[in-house]
């Protein structure tokens, strides 16, 4: 354990100590540390075990691409597996645990896999575990599942809040490094609406560890000044800890803001994470570059680190990587690190430069080996030495830390999320952003610009140009002279290092090594997508940020083609993983969907209703009384009471649509299958609405209030759909008709008053006379209530088959009117009833609901064939309803069904089999759509759709429910169980 904290250097606050634990070990870091830097400062270089071979792993990067240092942070409902230590800010008492090791990080049994590695080659599992087949689920797979995976998630509920937010801007800048900040200033000063997002805790990007000066200022000071100015501009918003994770259509970017992931205890008023959907005119990707690892043996041994990461730890966090360091470089950037290491007093042993002809004027003390490569790194839990090969010679150097840099690839993910294909650049041996992606531009290093000065200038120019393009007056911005920068020219690629002996990793997290890639090619999986899927390269949590480019290079080598011909796998969201919580926002648990409440909700509540979810509504199911032990007792009572006395039911949730205009009648005539043109004013009519394919869509009653005004009711479930459909019909199909539609569902509280005594009660509050003569069945009219205090609408329609009314009153008065009805009816035995009783009542009358109208029935199936107008020229569904298959006599048609033994029962969803027939699907005769216990009949009754049903009344069948092993002998019958002549309706 050789890494250590320097006494000075870095942007950390050495006065604020933050204690934390790692695998139970107590450690201390400083404010400003990342978890990774704090661990390194504590000499903790072994941080994890790899996925397959359980090899010891150390911190490789200082950013979002970290494949190794993934920890489980937090506890209980705040347990967060796979947290990247490099992105996690240190906070007081942070608890981090390493993953995928047992029993401990130091001694991991799983590391035996390393010995077996010859037999665990890429895709080995496709070739084995096939015998015997029964053992797969029982033995092999559970073992594999247990061995795989990274961290352990908690099943506990998350105590913290999340939310989502929209933002709109002219220019979204992603990345607040040199190019991003310069662009922000240029565009911000021009008064464009600018949003800058950066995934790190602090804006600045590479400037935070840059040793060059800008306009004579330290880079870090330049950042501070720039941010100050940006914050002073009202039209600019800078968001840190905000990762742009996806680019979507319409130039909308998904951004994850980590609001409270850096605090010990989140406050409840704020979300811990927030998703932003940012709609922007132009997005500027100033996302910088990703440094490429080099694929030599043991490149995963703790102590080996990306060169830029080493520089970041050194300069930003004041952490030295070890006591004896070497640098393996393919480009000039290695020398910059060398300079910084030496200035920090770190013992730099050697610079291994793969370029024989490198002429970098290095003035430091370390040995420089040109034209040399590291073939193997040695060591177990910590790097001990490296084998360096140069020319024909090789040498073993004792080092405890090694920086590697294989060059830099622009980070272009977001430019490719919308399907753009990256372009290969031979010059940079990297993929560059697609030529054109609408609304997206790149700046700085992401745009293949070299050097700090170049990036600043490029960013400023881009910002100004975009602002001008968008119609703003550009405002010049000169970043100042840069001194001390070493622009690293593009590296010559070094895909395959000759002479490698050990495992050379390409995808660190998924343990894909060089041989896996060549094996994939050998086995025919040489296409870049096949190789990815076969070897799992690039499928780790870093999504191939570090591995893809090397894999492409190695594939190209193995296939003997150019990397351009290999291409790359598709860049897809998310750039970095996003939590379910953030994506969910506030719509969780009880708030998953909004709640819709009836105006009679409180009335039902005070009458003791048990509620049930019905779509977004809560409906009253039944109204239990104290002496009732089961719901059935309550429902039976409610049903009996409706048939004997009177009941009151809340039907406010029915969809209600007002249809106005002089062509309203013609319109209805076209949307319903039955005739509506001649419906008289003051009358209601049951209507069947078909889909264009001839199936029934919805049903309901529609009343004519006056010549050009109708009031339609729909079922609760289809209310919204019917409204959309009617709007489609009026706007798209028949715009020539003068029709206007208004949804008035919420305007009216509607109650059904059903039962032989309903008239008496309703008459008590209705001012007008409503005798059978003056207001017969299917009457519909506006009424005055309570001596003119209120106006309502009264309909004499019945779902229960009893004498019944539906009364609609303005919603705000609903509860008061219902109270009045209860009071008026108390002497007549009025009781509230819920949807359960409503359902029993309607089944007894053979009335259908969406249990029967399930999208596959035509009117004739329900015995309503005659309703379909033969004379109307056109209506929705007319053309298709007469297709051969829909008029076949063999169709399932509505019947009633009753058990032979009244004590027996059956359930909806049971199937109907001919008595004595074998229990096969071929013999299936239909199914029970609705069933209930009917107090009136004294047994369970049901409605069923049965093949040739109405021809089979009286036939004994088996109601077959294999799921509950109930096979009930029953008889098919007329679905009208109560009052078959409908006499009660007309009293």
């Amino acid at each position: 354990m050789t890494s250590y904290r320097l006494d000075e250097r870095g942007l950390i606050d050495r006065h604020t100590k933050l204690p934390f634990t790692f695998d139970g070990k107590h450690m201390t870091g400083f404010s400003g540390d990342s978890l990774a830097s704090a661990l390194l400062a504590n000499g903790q270089q072994l941080v994890g075990r790899s996925f397959k071979y359980h090899r010891p792993r150390g911190i490789l990067t200082a950013g979002a691409a970290e494949p190794n240092a993934l920890f489980t942070v937090g506890r209980g409902g705040r347990t967060e597996p796979n947290t990247r230590a490099t992105m996690q800010e240190l906070y007081r008492d942070l608890e981090a645990k390493s993953q995928n090791r047992w029993p401990s990080l130091e001694f991991d049994i799983g590391s035996l896999n390393s010995i077996l590695s010859p037999f665990l080659s890429a895709g080995f599992y496709y070739k084995t575990f096939m015998w015997p087949s029964a053992l797969w689920e029982k033995l092999y797979e559970p073992l594999i599942r247990r061995a795989a995976g990274l961290g352990t998630a908690s099943y506990e509920r998350d105590p913290d809040a999340y939310e989502k937010c929209w933002a709109h801007c002219d220019l979204l800048i992603i990345g607040a490094g040199p190019a991003g900040l310069a662009a922000a200033l240029a565009a911000g000063r021009a008064k464009a609406r600018v949003i800058v997002v950066d995934e790190h805790a602090a804006a600045g990007g590479t400037l935070l560890w840059e040793t060059a000066t800008i306009g004579g200022n330290l880079a870090a000071d330049f950042v501070t000044q720039t941010l100050e100015e940006l914050r002073s501009l009202r039209n600019v918003r800078v968001m840190t800890r905000a990762t742009a994770f996806g680019s979507y259509d319409g130039n909308v970017f998904g951004v994850l803001e980590r609001v409270q992931k850096h605090v010990p205890e989140p406050v409840s008023q704020k979300p811990v994470e927030r998703i932003w959907r940012i709609a922007t005119k132009v997005a500027l990707l100033a996302t910088g570059t990703e440094e490429r690892p080099l694929v030599f043996g043991g490149n995963d041994v703790p102590g080996v680190m990306m060169a830029t990461a080493m520089r970041a730890y050194l300069n930003r966090y004041g952490v030295a990587p070890g006591r004896r360091t070497a640098i393996f470089t393919t480009n000039d950037s290695g020398y910059v690190l060398a300079r910084d290491l030496e200035s920090a007093g770190v013992n730099l042993v050697a610079i291994i430069d793969s370029r024989a002809g490198s002429t970098f004027p290095y003035g430091g003390k370390a040995r420089v080996l040109r034209g040399a490569v590291v073939t193997d790194a040695r060591g177990g839990r910590l790097l001990s030495s490296i084998d360096v090969s140069f020319g024909r010679r090789s040498e073993n150097l004792k080092v405890d830390s090694l920086a590697m840099t294989g060059g830099f690839s622009p980070i272009i993910h977001l430019a490719c999320h919308r399907g753009g294909k990256p372009r290969w650049s031979d010059e940079r041996s990297a993929f560059l952003a697609p030529e054109t992606t609408r609304g997206i531009m790149l700046a700085g290093a992401a745009d293949a610009t070299d050097g700090l000065a170049g990036c600043l200038a490029n960013g400023a120019a881009r910002g100004a140009a975009i602002a001008q393009e968008l119609g703003f007056r550009p405002f010049p911005f000169e970043p100042g002279i840069v001194e001390g920068d070493v622009p690293a020219a593009p590296a010559r690629p070094l895909w395959s290092i000759p002479g490698v002996k050990g495992k050379a990793f390409v995808d660190f997290q998924n343990d894909v090594h060089r041989k896996d890639i060549t094996l994939a090619v050998k086995e025919g999986y040489g296409h870049v997508e096949h190789a990815k899927r076969y070897t799992t390269n690039g499928m780790a949590t870093d999504q191939g940020k570090l591995s893809n480019i090397n894999a492409v290079g190695l594939l190209a080598d193995a296939r003997g083609v150019a990397p351009a011909a290999v291409g790359t796998t598709t860049f897809r969201p998310f750039y970095t993983p996003v939590s379910f919580g953030a994506l969910t926002g506030a719509h969780t648990e009880g708030h998953f969907q909004p709640i819709r409440k009836s105006p009679l909700h409180e009335w039902a509540k005070k009458n003791g209703a048990v509620f049930v979810e019905a779509g977004l509504w809560y409906r009253s199911s039944w109204f239990p009384r104290r002496d009732e032990a089961t719901w059935r007792q309550s429902v039976d009572r409610e049903v009996r009471n409706v048939r004997a006395n009177v009941g009151l039911c809340d039907v406010s949730m029915l969809g209600k649509i007002e249809i106005c205009g002089k062509d309203a009648a013609e319109f209805l005539n076209r949307v319903y299958a039955n005739a509506f043109l001649k419906l008289p004013v003051g009358k209601a009519r049951y209507g069947l609405m078909l889909r264009e394919d001839g199936m029934i869509y919805d049903d309901g009653t529609t009343s004519r209030l006056d010549d050009g005004r109708f009031f339609m009711t729909t079922t609760t479930a289809y209310a919204a759909g019917v409204m959309n459909h009617l709007e489609f019909c009026s706007q798209a199909l028949w715009p020539e008709l003068d029709v206007r539609l208004a949804s008035v569902t919420d305007q009216w509280a509607q109650m059904a008053i059903a039962g032989p005594k309903s008239r008496t009660i309703v008459q008590k509050i209705v001012d007008e006379e409503i005798s059978n003569g003056s207001f017969p069945f299917l009457g519909a009219k506006e009424v005055s209530l309570f001596g003119g205090q209120l106006r309502g609408r009264l309909f004499r329609i019945s779902f229960s088959g009893e004498l019944a009314y539906e009364l609609a009153v303005p919603a705000g008065y609903g509860e008061s009117v219902a109270d009045a009805l209860m009071e008026a009816g108390s002497e007549h035995g009025i009781q509230p009833y819920g949807v359960e009783a409503l359902s029993v009542l309607r089944i007894e009358k053979g009335h259908v609901t969406h249990n029967e109208i399930n999208g596959t029935v035509v009117p004739a199936d329900l015995g309503m064939g005659k309703m379909v107008s033969a004379t109307k020229q056109d209506f929705v569904g007319k053309a298709m309803v007469s297709r051969e298959g829909l008029v076949s006599p063999d169709r399932l048609r509505l019947v009633g069904v009753k058990p032979v033994d009244p004590r027996a029962s059956f359930r909806s969803g049971s199937h109907i089999l001919t008595k004595g027939a074998a229990e096969t699907l071929e013999n299936d005769q239909g199914y029970v759509t609705s069933s209930a216990f009917s107090p009136h009949v004294g047994s369970t009754i049901g409605l069923a759709l049965v093949r040739r049903g109405p021809e089979r009344y009286g036939e004994e069948v088996v109601v077959w429910n294999g799921l509950s092993k109930e096979f009930t002998p029953a008889r098919l019958c007329d679905p009208l169980f109560v009052d078959p002549e409908n006499e009660k309706l007309h009293v």
Partner: protein, 92 residues
């Protein structure tokens, strides 16, 4: 598109405010034959490229729109009220 849909009445709106019905094709007249109806109800051109689709601004102005969109790139090139589309023959 589809993250944001331009409504000719309301401006750019998120996709979730809309309901999508499918191909914007004209309904056959009442005397059309079975083939025409089959075509209208069931058969679709389903091209890769420009496509006219019925979108309903359900949580907005509740107008039906004809949205002209590229099914390969998702880019919207036009969006107009269905009555305008019917008049100008876009959806015919």
């Amino acid at each position: 598109m589809a993250s944001l849909v331009p409504c000719p009445h309301c401006g750019m709106r998120p996709k979730e405010e809309f309901t999508i019905k499918g191909a914007a094709i004209a309904r056959p007249g009442s005397h059309a034959d079975a083939n025409e109806w089959m075509d209208y109800v069931y058969l679709r051109n389903n091209p890769l490229g420009t496509y006219d689709e019925y979108w309903h601004h359900t949580s907005g102005c509740r107008r039906w729109l004809v949205v002209t969109r590229d099914t390969g790139t998702h880019e919207i090139s036009a969006s107009c009220d269905v009555t305008v589309a019917v008049k100008t023959g876009v959806a015919a």
